[in-house]
């Protein structure tokens, strides 16, 4: 199965990967292959042949994920689906084929489902099918005869052994199978013989099925519909307990919980809560659900009552079980991260898009040195604590407020400035702290004088002892009459 090639794309295209010191192609599409490119070539060689080759970096992790998804999808044909990384699937269709119109019908449907430029083969054992799909001719008679006509490469021996076999005049697996196995084992090892016997069906080649993972979903149905919200919550709690048990087994924690309430008139109502961190603790989720219900714009309307309640954990992340501490109690059992819990509750109440945290950004420009991100996504923020950092005001104006200032030429501190109509006489000043513009963010910023104005920051204190942070926007060499701005207030 060729992941990464897209027959619809007309241009030669390849994925590249760094191997050692060279960039090499790791997969190519059909147009590229027609031009003679193949996996394993260096990018430089490939470009010498096809200068227009489009490339993207290979992503083996994403490939593996895609293959896993495809394997999951194949579960509709047979419960026994084996993954053959990096790019193969093995389906044991014993006893399943008749459900899909016979073997060829099943194959056709499976290919359609797989997408990509997939290749397949049918054989009486997994090793043979795998070899036929990868090394066999397309559309030829299958079965043991076909296996014996496979090239020796199908054994996937190391290059050295393969070359030796070829030099011995052997071309196909059938040629090799005719030789005394003792002689083969003496030269190429027992492993070679085993592989050959697997291909020929003389030794077993079992399929290791991919373990199926069903989503965590609990449901409760009632003969008598529930009317009261508290009853509903009780049911949800018991479902949560079951879900937590399941999550404990899977070493996972939920991040998105969806409750679905089904009314007797078949109207459905969904409730969703999300957490900033994976949780298994029923109480936490239940509290969030309560908040959710309380803040609903149109409250829960039981009508003639709910006759089923289901709970699904739609998004789960790994969460190892933790060992409860000895001597727990006395308040030590409190939720480990109060801030996370607060964020979760605020997010539920205000909407996750309305709760932010500031994260530090590695930039010199003061207003860019931090950035608000949705609090639910901001985890593990560490603000640098280095004592040598220059003081920054707690309050920053965005945008900075223009002021009128009188200052020494060319780079003296402001002596007096007018802000919001009030005049401030500067008693003390320190600076300048000179911060240049980020030249790489402007088209022609790398040319002399094109980077944008440089700022000269000053910490000043006026006669009343108030402290301000002002900057001159532009050096005298850059513009003749630079403006002044107030950027922040010190506490």
């Amino acid at each position: 199965m060729e992941t990464g090639s897209d027959p619809a794309r007309p241009d030669p295209f390849a994925l590249v990967m760094r191997v050692g010191n060279a960039l090499r192609l790791s997969a190519v599409n059909v147009p590229a292959r027609r031009l003679g490119l193949d996996a394993g070539m260096t990018l430089a060689d490939a470009r010498a042949c096809v200068p227009s080759l489009l490339t993207r970096p290979a992503d083996p992790v994403a490939d593996a994920r895609a293959l896993d998804r495809m394997a999951a999808a194949m579960a509709r044909f047979t419960p026994t689906v084996g993954v053959d990384p990096p790019d193969g699937l093995i389906l044991d269709i014993t006893g399943c084929a008749h459900l899909f119109g016979g073997e060829s019908g099943l194959a056709r449907q499976a290919m359609a489902l797989a997408g990509y430029g997939a290749l397949h083969a049918l054989a009486s054992n997994a090793a043979a099918a795998r070899a036929m799909a990868r090394y066999g001719p397309e559309g030829e008679a299958e079965g043991e005869d076909g296996v014996r006509r496979l090239p020796l490469a199908a054994l996937e021996l190391d290059c050295d052994a393969l070359a030796a076999l070829r030099r011995a005049g052997l071309r196909t697996t059938g040629d090799l199978a005719r030789l005394p196995m003792r002689a083969v084992a003496a030269r190429f090892g027992e492993e070679t013989v085993t592989r050959l016997r697997c291909l020929l069906g003389e030794a077993a080649s079992p399929v290791a099925p991919r373990p199926a993972r069903s989503p965590i979903r609990m449901e409760a149905r009632f003969a008598e519909p529930l009317i009261r919200t508290d009853d509903v919550l009780d049911v949800i709690e018991s479902l949560l307990v079951q879900a937590a048990r399941e999550m404990e087994i899977r070493q996972a924690g939920g991040r998105r919980f969806v409750v679905e309430l089904c009314r007797s008139d078949n109207a459905r109502r969904g409730l969703m809560v999300e957490t900033g961190q994976p949780v298994r603790d029923c109480a936490v989720v239940l509290r969030l659900l309560r908040e959710r219900i309380e803040t609903l714009a149109d409250p829960l309307d039981p009508g003639f009552g709910f006759d089923s309640v289901s709970l699904a954990v739609l998004r789960a992340e790994p969460l190892p079980s933790s060992q409860p501490e000895l001597g727990a109690g006395e308040g030590r059992d409190a939720p480990p991260d109060g801030l996370a819990a607060l964020i979760d509750r605020l997010s539920v109440r205000l909407g996750p898009q309305n709760v932010f945290r500031l994260v530090p950004c590695d930039r010199h420009l003061p207003e860019k040195a931090q950035q608000p991100v949705p609090a639910s996504r901001a985890r593990g923020i560490a603000w640098p604590v280095d004592g040598d950092r220059l003081p920054r005001p707690l309050m920053l104006f965005d945008p900075p407020q223009q002021v009128e200032a009188i200052a020494g030429v060319p780079d003296g501190p402001p002596q007096r400035f007018r802000w919001r109509g009030r005049l401030h006489d500067v008693r003390l000043a320190e600076g300048p702290e000179r911060i240049a513009a980020e030249w790489w963010r402007k088209r022609t910023g790398h040319f002399p004088g094109k980077a944008g104005p440089t700022r000269d920051y000053y910490r000043v204190e006026d006669m009343a002892g108030r402290r301000f942070w002002l900057f001159r926007h532009g050096l005298f060499a850059e513009k003749p009459d630079p403006r002044w701005y107030l950027h922040g207030l010190f506490a």
Binding site: G36, P51, P137, A153, G169, G431, E433
Partner: protein, 1078 residues
Amino acid sequence: MNGTQDGPRFAELVAASNFSFLRGASHPAGIVAQAHALGMAGIGIADRNSVAGVVRAHIAWKRLGGPGASGVGRAFRLIVGARLVFADGTPDIAVYPATRHGWGRLTRLLTLGNLRAEKGGCELRLADLLDHARDVALIAMDGDAALLGALGEAVPRLWLAATMPRTGRDARGLARRMALSEKAGVPLIATNDALYATPDDRPLQDVLTCIREGLKVQTAGRRLAVNAERHLKSPAEMARLFRACPQAVAATGDLLDSIAFTLDDLRYEYPHEPVPEGWEPQGWLEHLVMEGAKVRFPDGLPDGYRRVLDEEFGLIRARGYACYFLTVHDVVHYARGLNPPILCQGRGSAANSLVCYFLGVTPIDPVKEKLLFSRFLSDERNEPPDIDVDFEHARREEVIQYIYRRYGRDRAGIAATVIRYRQRSAIREVGKALGLTEDVTARLSGTIWGSWGGKELPEARLAEAGFDPANPELARLRDMVDRLLDFPRHLSQHVGGFVLTEGRLDETVPIHNAAMPDRTFIEWDKEDLEAIGLMKVDVLALGMLTAIRKSFDLMRDHKLGDYDLRNVPREDAATYRMLQRGDSIGAFQVESRAQIAMLPRMKPRELYDLVIQVAIVRPGPIQGGMVHPYLRRRNGEEAVDFPGPPGEMRDVLDKTLGVPLFQEQAMKLAMVAAGFSPAEADGLRRAMATFRNNGTVHHYEEKLVEGMVRRGYPRDFAERCFEQIKGFGEYGFPESHAQAFAWLAYVSSWLKCRYPAVFTCALLNSQPMGFYAPAQLIRDAREHGVDVRPMDVNASQWDNTLEGERVLRLGLRQITGFREEWAERLKTARPVSGLEDAARRAGLTSRALHLLADAGAFGSLGCNRREAGWEARRVPAVQLPLFAAFGAPELGKEPEAALPAMSPQEEVVADYQTHRFSLKGHPMQFLRGRLTARGVVDCATADAARDGAKVRVAGVVLVRQRPGKGNAVFITIEDETGIVNALLWARDMERQRRAVMAARLMVIEGTIQRSKEGVVHLMADHITDASEMLDGLTDGSSGASGPVCGDSIRLPPHPRGERSLRGHPRNVRILPRSRDFH
């Protein structure tokens, strides 16, 4: 330049140049020029643990008019030193030697750090500085009272740096420094700790930081400098910044005044050793030369020689170069005195010297050849002589280690080569720093063919690679690449330039460990050494000398004659007849495609013709369009006339029929015809040789062309002369050098003509070298009647051997991957009776057995390649002791495997796979039937076709080349009948690029072009890739039957997983890679 200063006396004394690799963002010359323009009193260059850039600064400073010049220049000082960066946490300290002695202490200190560290580093500790601090001035960049106290005890001249970097707390910092200065009693000195000349250099400095730290500018954040303040600032500006502490600015003047040292004080002394007791160097040199003269002219010196000798002796005496010549003589003498001796021969301009000829350093008699000594040494050019000597490439290391032994590592070192940013490296690294993906930069640098692309990133190339040249990202990349080009990147060792001194070398220049074991090199490169006046001896490696020496040895061993480089019969007619046919594969210098094509047109008849032959196929004459005029004149199709005023050029151009071909002729032309002074002419040559001198080159162009036109030369001729000089700049080829090489070309041709088996044997034993792979050399030998015998386990040595005057036995070294020690062990066990016997008695490993079996080396034992290969996989590497004790075979009988018989084509293919040639045939012959059916003729037929014939010919690709400006691609293909040389114009290349670049087996359709000298080219129109026919050979599906696998869309099976990314298994490639351009 501004003479009037509006500020106080100030000098920036802590400036880094771009020899503080990936930190400084200005060339040393740029720093010096800017400091001068700002009206500073001086400038101090201090790079990180290095003095690699100071000579450049010194040259720039002298050009401004250093000492001896009048006016402002005199006031402007340059002091040179280094900024020490310590490994023990001590703050940086800048060191400036005050005297010659101080300089020696500094270079010794740096040497200590260099040799202590791994390659490239310099590991210094404070104690080292305290040990070496004599006669130096120090600037501590930071530090506490304790450090200052310790330094102050060691040196009287100590300052504490104060900077105003505009980081917000400058005033507090300065106040703290002033207090510390007060307390420690160490004066403050104002500096800007400069990293570049002007604030405009900040973007480049940011890019350098990113390259150094492996960052992108977009995400580097606060690891980049916050502002552009670390440039050189004018005295007035510094006075304003330091108005709270004017004494710090004044202190720069104190430091300047305390330093008397300049690099001109490095007075150089040649090593004295080679002079025996009781002789003066000059006397001993003259004695040796006269001894040599007696050998050359036993009947006494002919007329004229004495006069030339006296002139040379006079100049050598006046300059005190006797020791230099003696040193070279000593090295050559040593090489020749070894047993067996190492062949060596001087090259380059030294061949202009009769002294060198009589000393036996060069093979050319300059008087006979009318070569000018002034090309080598002259009163006008105040440069040290430069003698280059070639040694056998396989044994050069012996000479190098002799020099180290003889002079000691503290007196001998290899010169450095400054590795600079070239387009490819600059595009890759700047692109990465600007955040472009590797894919984009690889595609960009992939469009730059070779390094002749010139200075600018060409817009046409961008478009060719599918980029929009107007794209702002690319425009920025182009600008930054442009700025970075020519920046030094790191130091490496020169190929063989040795610097020798009488005193300690490490008191002149710091020494580094080289990447190669047992090598040390110094920090200065060729140009630096020239500027300082240090002597250099080039100990170079030449593969052909190895081959020639091995040829002579073989001839002696087989009683074919006793020859050395000097007594080879001269002017052998048969040798010239061979060369006239263009039959020169393997011969030195005249074996390339272009040379082979030129030979039948030149028709060399004597040695001087070869001199011209090796010089004419060069960028200089080709770019100058001088080749065709010369050939026409030589063939009598055009009258020989001399351009310009009558008689003026006759002397210069007489030997070359009025066409300038050699570098010195072009220079002479500039002097005689355009009125250049010798110094100007030399400046012109230098300007051409270095990159990024476009401004000055323009100036020279105008001066040369206009000068010549004014004096009556045709404009067209003048312009061609200039183009030629430009070509020489990239690849100079003076006549004396051509003379020296022509002699080797002659000797190798003579060997090839008279003793083809000997010559081929020697060439094969000297690989890798030369232009051709063993397969072509062996093929050529067979075509010249040599009986080449296959490798055999009982007959072959490691080396190829002679079994008769024309019988060559291939050696086991021809088996790729075989080892010499295995061959030695095999030799002692001979004769072996079979595989197991070989394994047991010769102790061969299973890999060795495999290689021997695959190579068919057991053929003489009646065991063919297939059986041997099958058997070899079974033989255990080590025999079990019990079997060994009984001498019994360990392996039991096994049932007959009944392998299929090996067809001739399988044999040939296997030959090509294992040793890249076959004595049994050629892969193409097995495809002949199918090719004929497709209307394809063989190479011999194509070569014999009439001029203008349309042919279609196929062959395996030997070489692809795209020489010069790249407007044509040369392709050589081969089949069982011969080779065809095809030429494809670049404009026709793009539409069939893939076939041209990727085909292993190529079908070429085109027109035969036959010159009247009989040179045949195939002018290609259409090229198809028929490589898949080769793949058929291994599957046994070739023949007339068997389907041709065309463009079936079926994806071929591919090897899986990681393994497939590491390259193809050997059997994928039937033929070895061709030798290609990229």
